[in-house]
Amino acid sequence: MAEAMADSYNGDSEPTTRTLLRRVLDTADTRTPRRRRSARVGAQKALLETPSSRRLSSPTKMNVRRHSHRVRSIGRLAHVHTSGNVEEQTPRTLLKNILLTAPESSIMRPESVVKPVPTPQVVQSSRRDSSRGSLELQLPELEPPTTLALGLLAPGRRKQRLRLSVFQQGMDQGLPLSQEPRGNASASSLTSSLNLTFATPLQPQSVQRPGLARRPPTRRAVDVGAFLQDLRDTSLALASPGDSLRTPVATLPADTVLEDTQPFSQPLVGRSPSGYHSLTCLSHTEVEDAERAVSLRTQSSGPRLQNHSLYVCPAESPGCWFLLHVRAESVLDQDTPNKYHPGKPAELLAGKAKKVDAHAVSFPNNSSAISGEDGVEPLQDGVDEEAEERMEESLSVSEVMDTTGTQGSVRTEKSKRHREMSEAVEAKEPEGSSGDEDISGRRASPELASSTTEFLQARQPQFLEPALPPSTAVLSSEPLEPLPTRLPPRARTPGPRPRQDPHKTGLSHYVKLFSFYAKMPMEKKALEMVEKCLDKYFQHLCDDLEVFAAHAGRKTVKPEDLELLMRRQGLVNDQVSLHVLVERYLPLEYRQLLIPCAFSGNSVFPAQ
């Protein structure tokens, strides 16, 4: 058979390397006693190759692959089958022989390879039986090729994937296997590798883009109608106040709007109280299309919300505007901010034509800037009392923000999350503003939701934590990044909060580590005790450090003090010095700071 093939090959006018290799293959197969299978395969391969050789346009590719595989497999096979083609005995041919013989001779039998192979093997074995003489690819036995195939599969996976389609086409058409897949490895290994690709066709595809698979579904279909309405609403609301602050923030919305990972690009803080009046009138008609019920509710809470929205911390902190909202509401109740209103509606109307993005972005900043100072001070006074009010208002404000909205696609997500959050909050504080919450829920921006949750958490951790932490944890991380300019609201608000909180937050990390390494479920009380012990331990440690520094007549704690402490602890002794521990456990960045290291220019850092 091989000779027949060879004869057929002789008809080839071009003595390309491929043809040479093929000849070698054929001859090699026939010669080696163990080559029965590969001989068959090789013969069939030759058959397949000959008709398809001309069709394939990239002989070099195959050769390259073969060579690469040969290089890989050469390590396994010590012997080389010269295969009688003395005149053609080039290193390439030798490698090719090795490649051919590799499957049979290799000892390794990776189990992982065996699994995927059986399934296709079954299919192909049937094929083999049926179509011996056909041009279809014959599969060698499972075991021998798998070993080599496994090794070749990984590097050649991409190539196999690409050629899989070709292979499928070939199978469908009854064509012999194209040379490209064969090029990856010898016939046997190639087929086995192909089997593997069959077996796990999905894996490469899924692995190919892990990032996309893991990313949460980002965009939803944009509801154009709602989006346009939101644009209009936001333009109205953000028109006047946003002017001054638009420029600095103008860039933000563009970046944050479209980004999935930063859904809280700009929590729409609020609207001018006066502007909202007009806005509600205007938006009422506009919103009706999308959310009629929402608009009605917003109207009732609109002016309030708008007032609130104005009073936002200049720091753009998510929680700030909540505080300010509360304040704004109280102000509104007192009818003080009425002065605002006349100016705003006109501005809003004027600004209607402006782009929403700029508005949406600038509005929170605006409102915050305007009323930040006012709201912050009074807020700090009655924190606990107005907590509930704030919660509602924050939610309602967030709703308003949402309705005026920034991005439709993001909005849908936000609304969902906000809905969750608002629902959770509602459960705790069911009040008249629930309607607002619903409104906001629909189009709540995750920014608002997260900011709300953050703020609420900071304010009333007791009853918010159970419901909010999950959402907050997801959301809170993100808004902080896109809003670097926002000041943390917690710094001001929890005045009476004991200093335990910042301490415990650090200890909780160690407690978590402890519970992890315990490998057993632990009671809450036990964890609390652990936390207490850790607290005392660290207190002791710091006291010791202080005393040591004072003992040396210093006011600053230096590494020498720490070394003394560790010596007392027994970590550092005559056999183990501090530098040894530093080298063992600290990363390079810290090691550079601690252990003097010579740098270029005859400089040593840290200086001794």
């Binding site: 005393v547 003992h551 003394l564």
Partner: protein
């Protein structure tokens, strides 16, 4: 070979010295325990006394090392009362006791010094006077 012998002998010497120290500590601890037992009217078993004495011995070793470390940390070559106070800071009552003792000692020392100074002055005057007397006497004669 001589070094090895010397080394071994030294080792033995040290060991025997150590044993003697341990014995001394054990004896002292035994005496103290007897006192406490007679106070509380509860006898001490021998194992208890042995355990306490062993514990004391090891703790003394630790104390010594710590004191040396503290002195070196303060860039001194002599162990000071400050070092001792640092050592005892953990136990409040002990620290208090030590501080009081320290104050007493300092007071005593200052008093001693004052006395010594006076004596020195007296001696000086006395020594000066006879010298002058002698000089005067010489001149006179």
């Amino acid at each position: 070979m001589e070094e090895e012998e010397d080394g071994a002998a030294e080792e033995q010497q040290r060991f025997s010295y150590r044993q003697r120290l341990k014995a001394a500590v054990h004896y002292t601890v035994g005496c103290l325990c007897e006192e406490v037992a007679s106070d509380r009217e509860m006898p001490f078993s021998k194992q208890t006394i042995a355990a306490i004495s062993e514990l004391t011995f090891r703790q003394c070793e630790t104390f010594a090392k710590d004191l040396e470390m503290f002195a070196r940390h303060a860039k001194r070559s002599t162990i000071n009362t400050e070092d001792v106070k640092l050592l005892a800071r953990r136990s409040n009552s002990l620290l208090k006791y030590i501080t009081e003792k320290n104050e007493e000692l300092t007071q005593f020392n200052t008093e001693q010094k004052a006395k010594k100074k006076k004596q020195l002055e007296n001696d000086n005057t006395k020594s000066v006077a006879p010298a002058e007397a002698e000089a005067a006497g010489k001149d006179g004669s």
